[in-house]
């Protein structure tokens, strides 16, 4: 048989793309060199937020994705732990609060449910927060999901629609026809004949791109989290420091009054509870190639920053830490695009820390793209050709 589409990569993006294509009636094969969700999608945190997005397209996609998550949670029989916990951004200084206010105002003007809360309200919402904080941004619609269960949910629901999954399958070659059209994916499980290939391999997308002669500028960026022992509830929402924006968008540059260790590891506090009553504490981002081993100083810096915002963490044990690599693109936008040079080859990758959040909408948009329909909104900025154009202008 010849598949309509072969999706490479069974993480949050690939499984969603595969599911949404099945939903449109395409015959779909999903390949991964490991198991489902064995890469970045099981080495990350668990939230989907709009409150960490830049105003504009970024927020628009986030919002659409979160809405879509809600529909999926209602229609799927596979539970992926959808939890509308809301997100609270906390500010340490007047300067941060001023910046946060203008950010929240801008988002509210665009129609998003986001508002500034004062110190008193904030402490009612999160009584264990340090008592010197000035206020924050409250976004009630932000959610949490279990990232790897999201992947399994898409796969299980996709299977009901005929999705064929090839885990632990290694690709040796993507065969193109004489006129450079995608023809087959050659694997150690045999040749998979296909009309189209969608590269959803995240940080490994450049390796897949090489198979058809493409240079995809995605780099691995390491993220690390700590996990606490099970404990009584000390946190009720996703809580982050406004300085987190700083590590995400280098353009917004606040000077924080932090130790050299926190500075060196670019640590930005964020915390959430899990369904099993452990606390997830983050986070740090750094470029370390594909080395996902934990770093002791980074762990200490994360803990130090956590204790600054939740002093009671000092008495709670850390039982584990883990790191993963996020697919980083210099302009902080994912690639959701066809590739002009190779007819039948598409890319949906490069979501950095937003892959879990943007998984549903990316799948939906990609399915629209493949079906030749008009996409829900204008995604020209996500085109792959932006890199080659940039090269040409340079």
């Amino acid at each position: 048989m010849i598949y309509d589409v072969t999706v490479i990569g069974a993480g949050a993006i690939g499984t969603s793309v595969a599911y949404h294509l099945c939903k449109k009636g395409f015959s779909v094969a999903l390949i991964d060199r490991g198991d489902i969700a064995s890469g970045s999608s099981s080495h990350c945190d668990a939230v989907a937020l709009i409150s960490d997005k830049a105003p504009g397209l970024d927020t628009k996609m986030g919002d659409a994705s979160i809405r879509h998550y809600r529909e999926l949670a209602e229609s799927f029989s596979y539970d992926f732990e959808y939890d509308r916990k809301g997100c609270l951004y906390v500010c340490e200084t007047e300067e941060e609060l001023a910046a946060a206010s203008s950010y929240a105002k801008r988002q509210a003007a665009d129609g998003y449910d986001m508002k500034i809360v004062d110190a008193k309200t904030m402490r009612e919402m999160e009584p264990y927060l340090a008592d010197d904080l000035l206020g924050g941004i409250w976004t009630p619609g932000d959610i949490a999901v279990c990232p790897y269960k999201v992947c399994f949910a898409f796969v299980e629901e996709g299977k009901k629609l005929g999705l064929k999954v090839y885990p632990y399958t290694h690709i040796s070659r993507i065969r193109l026809s004489a006129n450079r059209m995608v023809e087959a994916v050659e694997t150690d499980a045999g040749d998979i004949l296909t009309k189209r290939v969608i590269n959803c391999a995240g940080v490994w997308a450049p390796d897949v791109g090489k198979l058809v002669g493409l240079d995809i500028p995605i780099q691995p960026r390491k993220g690390m989290n700590l996990i606490s022992e099970q404990t009584k509830r000390i946190v009720w929402h996703k809580v982050m420091e406004f300085g987190y924006m700083m590590s995400k968008f280098e353009s917004i540059n606040f000077r924080r009054n932090v130790s050299s260790l926190v500075e060196e590891y670019n640590v930005a506090f964020n915390i959430e509870y899990t369904k099993a009553d452990n606390i997830l504490l983050g986070g740090y981002r750094g470029f370390r190639g594909f080395d996902v081993r934990s770093e002791l100083e980074a762990m200490q810096a994360i803990a130090e920053r956590g204790i600054r915002f939740y002093p009671c963490l000092k008495g709670i044990n850390c039982i584990r830490s883990y790191a993963g690599v996020r697919p980083y693109v210099k302009d902080h936008l994912p690639v959701v695009s066809a590739v002009d040079e190779v007819p039948g080859f598409y890319i949906a990758a490069g979501h950095e820390g937003d892959g879990i959040c943007l998984s549903p909408i990316t799948g939906k948009l990609m399915a629209q793209l493949v079906a030749g329909e008009t996409t829900d909104f204008d995604i020209r900025r996500l085109r792959f050709s932006r890199f080659t154009e940039a090269q040409r202008t340079a």
């Binding site: 960026r221 470029f287 081993r293 770093e295 210099k330």
Partner: protein, 389 residues
Amino acid sequence: MILEKDVVVIGAGPAGLAASIEAAKAGAGVLLVDLNLKAGGQLFKQIHKFFGSRAHYSGTRGYDIGRKLVREAESLKVDVWLQSTAVGVFPGNKVGIERILDGGVKKLYTVHGKAVIIATGASENAVCFKGWTRPGVMGAGAAQTMVNVNHVRPGKKIVMLGSGNVGLIVSYQLMQAGCDVLALVEAAPKIGGYAVHAAKISRAGVPIITSHTIVEALGDEKGTVRGAVIAKVDSHFQPISGTERTIECDTIAIAAGLRPVVDLTRLMNCASVFEPVFGGFIPLHNTDMETSVKGIYVAGDSTGVEEASVAMEEGRIAGTAAAQSLGYLSAAEAGKTKKLLWERVNSLRSGPFGERRLTAEKNLLEHFREEIREPQPEIMIGGLAHGAD
């Protein structure tokens, strides 16, 4: 702040102590860490006399060997941190150590070791029958620690599962401590350990019930063990329905073998293999006891479950090689010592059990020579990958 040491040895059992002594003797600055209150590892619960040659302390009891090694390490100015847990080995040979200070305060130290010797020993295997998590079900090693180190009886009436040497010896020691061992249950059709140990407990009237296993630990109203349900097993070790009977007891000890503790070498991405003869997954090493990662050495049960005498020799090899790599010993001096030590290790691997280990060890060393060739330096970190940002 990062502390600097020539050699950091993790685990103060026979392997770690021996490694520390050799490295310190050559002039290296050594830090030895262990999570327990006392150094010596399992030696302190080995109240029996060792077998073998004079060089291997034959005729000496385990705890006396432990005392001797601890004294020697102290006289060589080895820095010993007790109640100190190595929570991880991190990129750049950095060892994270959580130390309990006076007053119970915990403090985390980062120690950079030019060489790191991992001698974390082994842990006991569990057998997961119904009720295996009840209070009163424990490892045979834990029961042994209770009677021989802490002088506390784990219970009055004991059923032991597993008739290897640990099961046999611990049964005897529990009886010496005043416990009543009601039965020794063994799933295999014959006794696993040495006949001399089995004879001792048979003479004392303990029935050794072969081709049987424990299928359930019964609990009293508080959930504590009140009995062991045993059943006959078929040739595939499956319990045969209808053969169950209950032995009333308050303690079930499980002697189902040991497995190497390899968490730290796994954190460092050391190349590993599965070798049942040595108890499971183990890090590969060369004749210097160095793993696939340069500067990370292993010794003792953490690289294959064997006797304390082998652990000590492996520790000495690792300590000598680490000192050599830091320039404290010439290649000629170290080479001579290591050759002698390897001869002693090999002489310990004799007899039907030893032969299998000798062959397995040879294969592992060959595997290392062919596939790993040279220990590789650390994956470089700190620089930006592909010049990002």
